[in-house]
Structures are given as C-alpha cells and as structure tokens.
C-alpha cells in the first residue's frame, strides 16, 4: 500500500533517544496549543504566559525549583519499582504517610527537641512510614497476585480519607481556629530555606543524593540487576531463581520511603502543619512524578531535568490559572497530553520505518 514497512529497531543511541524525547515534547506542546485554541484562548499568549510564569523571573525560578524538590525525590523513588515493572501509583499516599508520621511525632514526643535533632528524626520516621505503607501493595501483589495499580490507588484514597479524619478529629489543632488543621509544628522544626525563596535546601540535597544512590543501585548492584531482570524478562527472572518477594519488598520500601521524605520536606519546609484536604500538601506530586520518571526514561540524571520541567508546568499552570481564569485541571490536561505524546514517540525508539523492496 504505502511501500513502507516496520522493522524492530534493535538498539539506539542515547542521542537519538534524547532527540525523540524532545520531539515528543515539542509535539505535545503543539497539541496543548491546539487545546488552548479550542477553548478560545490565544495559544501563543497562553504558552508564553506559562513560560514566563515558571522561568521568567528570579522569583518564578525559585518557585519552580521549590516545586521540583518533591518531584525529584518521588520520581527518583519511582524509578526503582518502575524498573521492575511494578507500577507504584501510590506515591501520593506514601508522601502523605511520611508527612503524617513526621507531623504526629513533631507535635508529640519530639516537640521539645532542638531542630538539628528533631528534623533528622522526622525525616527518618517519614521514610519509614512511607516505606512501610508501600509494602502493603507489594505483599498483596506477591502473595495474592493483586494488581498493584488497583491496590496502590485504593490505598491512595483510603489514606486521604484517613488523614482527613485525623486532622478533623484526634489531631485537630487547639491553637488553630480553622476546622481541618493541626497545630503548627514548633518553629525549630522548620527547614531552612534559601533567603528570598521557599527552597528548602536540605530536601533538595537529599533528592540529589537519592538520585546518585538510585543510579548506583540500579546500575552497579546485585539488587539493581535483579530488579532490571524482573522488569525486562519475568520468565528469565523466575528461572534464575530471583527472590521476587524480597526484591519487590525492597523496591517498594525505597520508593515509598523516598516519597515519605518528600512528604516530610513539604511538611517542614513549606506548610508547617497538616490540613485537609490532604491535596494541599501532596498536590498531585505522586501522580506528576510518574510522568517525570517516565519522561526521563527511568534515568536518575534525567529525572533531575524532567522534575524541573514539570515543576515549571505546575508553576506556569498556576500563573495562567490566575491570569486566564483557567481551572486547576488545566495542568492535568497538559500533563496527560505530554505523557501521551511521549509514549507515542517511543514508537520511533522501538521501530524503524523503511521502504519495502519492490
């Protein structure tokens, strides 16, 4: 018909992959522009506004970097299970559980401790809480074969309702006049931020360290190798006798733990308290991080770049919400479009189009 045929592409250079990624993103931006046109907005104005809103001034750059921190931590964490094709969609609740643990501890048995002692403890507790919460879907999958997309999603909803219950009830603040808010954490538990911005440096550094750690884990450790084998060829992993239970538990502990750290970071660096709705803290980071990780093709260094990019979309999205009176959902739409274009573009990494011999 068209004299074209498809051949599987057996290998491709990183340069080519990068080119395809950039091309996919560009296509995505075009589609977003078309969408703006559809809803009666000037696409160029809207896109320019987004760009200005996220990268156009020192202040916006600061805000973008601030929002990149949790994305970085969570996305780096997601690389690990995703490499093993374990679809952790539960990062949103893992973030929340980390924040919950740290907040509860900070308001109770840690409250009289000095900052340099309390904060590391809160980070540790947050890591453990997020990690343990993430073990639930791991066990359910290995023991009972329960699809992890469903279990992690259900746990997301359950955690949100549970924390809302706590914040409206047992954890309700006595010093706050609002309904669904806890007390503020003691001031020594606020993370230091770069003056003039909201960038909480400690968590940023933790994120970068995590990227390094995950890089070494996946590329240069036995566990990382096992994870990748499970992801690439399940049958081979089984024949090789890889312990699925052990690997899955560790994968999820790391992923949930890093998400929990992000939660503590948001709690101590930005909000200083827990409030309802829980999305005021988690802000969809758990879902956006999925795209961040996927865009970076599960490469920790790529995640550093893509987390900044998607933070820009969030901040820029806020900007056009205000100036163009668009709803919050606009950011989800943009993210969805970008993700679809990204996986559509993957086609060119897997196949090459050649002429059929006549």
């Amino acid at each position: 018909m068209l004299n074209l045929k498809l051949e599987p592409r057996h290998h491709h250079g990183t340069g080519f992959a990068l080119g395809v990624t950039i091309g996919s993103m560009a296509a995505g931006i075009v589609v977003i522009g078309l969408l703006f046109l559809l809803i009666g907005q000037d696409p160029f104005f809207a896109l320019a506004r987004i760009f200005r809103g996220s990268f156009g001034s020192v202040y916006s750059l600061g805000e973008t970097l601030t929002k990149a921190i949790p994305l970085l931590l969570v996305a780096v964490g997601l690389i690990v299970p995703f490499a093993g094709k374990f679809w952790n969609i539960g990062a949103e609740s893992q973030i929340l559980m980390g924040a919950l643990a740290a907040c509860t501890a900070g308001l109770t048995f840690l409250k009289d401790l000095p900052g340099p002692v309390a904060i590391p403890l809160m980070l540790l507790l947050g890591f453990l809480a997020g990690g343990l919460w993430a073990l639930i879907p791991a066990v359910l999958k290995i023991r009972l074969g329960i699809n992890e997309v469903i279990s992690t999603l259900m746990l997301n909803y359950m955690a949100a309702e549970f924390v809302t219950f706590l914040v409206l009830g047992p954890l309700r603040g006595k010093t706050q006049l609002g309904q669904g808010v806890t007390d503020n954490l003691p001031s020594q538990m606020q993370l230091w931020t770069i003056p003039g911005t909201r960038i909480h440096l400690l968590t940023l550094v933790l994120g970068l360290i995590a990227a390094l750690a995950v890089f070494f884990l996946l590329k240069h450790s036995k566990l990382g190798y096992e994870i990748r084998v499970i992801g690439e060829n399940r049958e081979a992993a089984r024949y090789a006798g890889i312990d699925f239970m052990k690997v899955t538990l560790v994968m999820m502990m790391i992923s949930g733990g890093l998400a929990g750290l992000a939660g503590v970071g948001e709690l101590t660096g930005i909000h200083g308290k827990l409030a309802s709705p829980t999305t005021s803290l988690t802000a969809g980071y758990g879902f956006t991080a999925i795209i961040v990780a996927w865009l970076a093709r599960l490469n920790p260094w790529g995640v550093i770049v893509s987390s900044f990019f998607f933070a820009g979309i969030i901040v820029g999205g806020d900007a056009i919400q205000i100036s163009l009176k668009l709803p919050v959902a606009t950011v989800s739409v943009m993210n969805g479009i970008l993700l679809l274009c990204l996986i559509a573009g993957d086609f060119f990494l897997q196949y090459r189009i050649t002429r059929k011999p006549s």
Partner: protein, 287 residues
C-alpha cells in the same frame, strides 16, 4: 424494617448502574487483549458529553455525545497501544489523567447548571441489562465475539486464522469505550442533577478492579457491580451510628481491596481467568 432494607437495596441498584455499564465496556476491551486503565477518563468524558448533549438537544443527544466523547478517548488509547504498540499501562493512566482533566476543564462553564430533562434511573437499568445480555451473547454465541476472545488469548493463532487482530482489538476498544460513555451519562443525566467537578469520583478505578474480580464475564460483572455498590451504600447506612464520615469514606476503596483479596485467595495465582495476551502488544508476523 422491611422498608428500610428495600430502600437500601434500591439505592444499591442505582449506585451499581454506572459500574455495570462501565464494566461491560471494560470487559469487551480487555477480552480483546487491550489493558485499559483509563476508565475513569472515559467515564468523565462520557459524563461531559452527556451533560452538554442534554443541554443542547435533549436526552438522546446526551447519550449519543456521551458515547462519542468516551469512544474518542478510547480511540486515542487504541491508536497508541495498537498502532504504535506503546505501553498499555502508561497509556491508560495518561487517558485517565487527560480524560478527567478535560472533563473538568471543558465542564467549567457548566458548574452548578442543571439539565432540565433528566432521565429516570430505570432507563439505565434497562440499558444495563440489555448491554450485559448483549455482551454475553456476543462473546459466547457469535463468530465475531469468538474472534475477539481469541485475539485476547492468542493473537498469533487468531492472525493465522485470518483475523485482523489490530482491527478487532481496535473495534473492541472503541465499542467498549462507547459503552463506558453510557456509564458516565448515567452519572450526569440521572444520578446527579447538576454539573460538578468530581462527578465520577474514582468509580472508574473501581471498574478496573471489577472487571478482574468478575473474571471478565458479563453476568458476573453485573452481580459484582451490585456487590461493590452495596459497599458504597453501606457508608450512608452506617452514618447514623456516629462513625466519622471520613472513616466511612474509606469503605468503598477498602471494600474493593477486600474483594480483590478474596479474589486472590480463591483463584489460582496464575490468574487463569485473565485473557492470556492481556496487556501485550501484538505485531503482525512477530513471533
């Protein structure tokens, strides 16, 4: 007492309707081998189409537009997963994200508005029964239905029998999507009286679990929908007991988890019921 029980059961039936319709669509899609996690997006777009259609031209237009909007999302999913052989899990997630986002974005002008001619629930009850019956008949008693099933079990065998796997899967995905649109239509045209942002409220994800729990069989899905819906209704039954509403809010999701645990305990670990080729991309001529 009897009245109370009947009332609960009726509420359960009504709550089950979107689940029934959407799960039938999901079964059709997944039976052909295409994993679909985007149901939430399909339903959200269906609700939007139904609302807009009803406002512009009445209930019939509403139903039609619901099906068209939802099928459009499925068209994208099919195009990407079948045509471009992309990862079906990620594509589904993206559709869910995009569908719900678009529904909120395009639905913003309608927030608070109400349709004047809503459809009574019994219309959708009949639709639900007809679709379930029709799907069962189609899958088990027709040649095309058999082709769909073979595509999901063993696409290589299907292809060697002359079936165009890509076209069959695409068709199943599109029609399945249209049926899911009807579920969204129910929520927008019957269950609620005016447009609001969180129309679907996570039910699409329950449908994903439902199809698995029902072993991808239409009649089981009908019954299971009712079961899942009763957990929804249970929230409202237990409320007067003084249990905090957020804890009760955990019930539908916790209930779904419990059902999945039961499913996992009862069925063989290898999930013999799943279409064998579910989630795997297929390329003509490939081994």
């Amino acid at each position: 007492m009897m009245d109370f029980i009947l009332l609960i059961l009726m509420r359960g039936v009504v709550a089950a309707l979107p689940l029934i319709l959407a799960s039938q669509g999901q079964i059709l899609t997944e039976k052909s081998g295409i994993l679909n996690l985007g149901v939430e997006g399909n339903m959200a777009l269906g609700a939007l189409g139904a609302f807009m259609g009803s406002l512009w031209g009445g209930p019939v237009l509403g139903l039609v537009m619901a099906m068209v909007f939802s099928a459009s999302a499925s068209l994208v999913h099919a195009g990407i997963t079948i045509g471009l052989r992309a990862n079906q899990t990620v594509s589904g997630l993206a559709i869910a994200m995009l569908g719900t986002g678009l529904s909120k974005l395009l639905g913003k002008p309608y927030i608070g508005k109400a349709i004047s001619t809503t459809l009574p629930a019994w219309v959708f009850m009949i639709l639900g029964l007809v679709v379930t019956l029709g799907l069962w008949y189609f899958l088990t008693r027709t040649r095309t239905g058999l082709k769909v099933r073979i595509c999901g079990e063993n696409p290589i065998a299907a292809e060697s029998n002359g079936t165009n796997v890509a076209a069959t899967r695409a068709g199943a995905t599109l029609v399945g999507g249209a049926i899911m649109g009807l579920a969204g239509a129910f929520v927008a045209m019957s269950y609620q009286t005016s447009w609001n942002d969180e129309m679907i409220g996570g039910r699409g994800w329950l449908v994903v679990a439902l199809a698995i729990f029902a072993l991808w069989k239409p009649w089981r899905a009908l019954l299971s929908s009712f079961l899942f819906a009763m957990v929804f209704v249970l929230q409202y039954v237990l409320q007067p007991l003084g249990i905090p509403s957020n804890l009760l809010g955990m019930l539908p999701y916790g209930g779904t988890l419990v059902f999945m645990v039961i499913y996992g305990l009862v069925n063989d670990q290898r999930k013999m019921a799943a279409p064998a080729a579910l989630g795997n991309a297929y390329r003509r001529g490939e081994r």
